[in-house]
Symmetry: C2
Subunit: 248 residues, 2 copies
């Protein structure tokens, strides 16, 4: 069966307090799309951050001496560095203007996900506090409006250590199993697969980016036809446990 | 515009010497699919390796003393370790039964991409020698059969250092620009984006995996409706230059 990915356009600017699931249900209707059982809704973390009031006015940020020092070294705004440090649990690398951190969620990424693209001048966006819970709320709001509860994925754009360019990762997941576990299943020769676990939530996030883009004012997509496994462990399950980390 | 991803089934077992582009064109016809201008064909590296005779009979592999020693430490088949070392340019990490290497192509991955899943007992598959050239040949063969030259992506399944599970990466690309460069373009607030380059070939590879799966005998997919930028730099452009590597 084929998979289809639809952009959800016409959401407009997301203000603080917007109920994102309701806004998406409305935009879907205007796009002549109906949510069907088994559909997946993908939303960027930037949209969620805006709706949840996670935009910070830089004028109100007082950088610590540590942030000031690091900012000078990296030629960055010390208020941004302050936010990056505050959102982090640990700093892993500092180089070429980038601070690689492990965030309070446990995600390893550049600049703790603190980002100024697609936010108003003088503001920075922090990641949602609990993206798995945000995904669940969006699913509930869509169900309240349409009678169908979709799976929901919240995404963010991250680099990879040995690959050029960035891809979308799933940082919040509701309703689907983020990892498809093939271990113990036979391959086409009957040999039992030993180590194959596929991070399908990350693959779905990347697939959705293909219709969302960066400059097109389209922070959401609908994926239809992917037969996912129902699951409720959330995107936090995608974080590799520290003891398995070969690249600390 | 929506994107559609179709599995290309019925390719059957790929033997050495099979002209993969022709086989795909045949399978598409049997699936009632016509290649249209702008379509992307995605093929697993395993299928390409089989067609190009990159299966190695383990009985014929003589492990070096170095491979024997490493194999003992990791509890692996010394002949497999010999192949991993032979395919590598450099060993980055050795831990928990996994050898992380930089391959001769420059790709950083587990076990140099040497793999025994979905290959006959007693054999191991090596990655294609020149996956960008393999992708080009597949495109040419499809054009010869159908009159339309699609973009082609060859994929392999890789882990990521801080994420559980694996996703598909593009290791061979023909006809499309693997990176979409947003640098210098305005965001929705007119602010110029500074660092956003999206690895669309990797996102397309991940999207295709959603219909291909691991155990379903479906090593190819067709992606329709993604308006790619034409480009010929190949998947090698996705490899981050060594001087930019923060995690050597």
């Amino acid at each position: 069966m084929a998979i289809s990915i639809y952009p959800i356009t016409g959401l407009g600017e997301i203000g603080e307090g917007v109920r994102l699931g309701e806004a998406i249900a409305g935009a879907l209707a205007r796009n002549n799309l109906t949510v069907l059982k088994g559909d997946i809704i993908v939303v960027t973390s930037k949209a969620v951050s805006k709706a949840e009031g996670r935009l910070v006015r830089l004028d109100g940020v007082k950088p610590s001496p540590k942030a000031v020092k690091l900012a000078r070294r990296l030629n960055k705004d010390p208020r941004i560095v302050e936010l990056i440090l505050k959102e982090s649990r640990r700093v892993l690398r500092v180089e070429r203007g980038i601070i690689i951190t492990r965030t309070k969620h446990g995600i390893v990424c550049a600049n703790s996900g603190v980002d100024q693209s697609n936010v108003p001048e003088g503001y920075a966006a922090l990641l949602p506090k609990d993206p798995d819970r945000s995904a669940e709320k969006i699913a509930e709001q869509i169900e309240a409006r349409t009678g169908v509860k979709p799976a929901v994925i919240i995404t963010d754009t991250y680099g990879r250590p040995w690959r050029r360019g960035q891809v979308q990762f799933a940082i919040g997941v509701y309703g689907l199993n983020p990892i498809l576990d093939y271990r113990g299943k036979p391959d086409t020769y009957g040999r039992v697969l030993k180590v194959t676990e596929i991070a399908v939530a990350d693959e779905l996030a990347s697939a959705a980016e293909l219709v969302m883009g960066k400059t097109k004012m389209c922070p959401a997509a609908l994926i239809r036809g992917y037969g996912y496994e129902v699951g409720f462990v959330g995107a936090k399950y995608l974080i590799r446990p520290l003891k398995e980390d070969l690249f600390k």
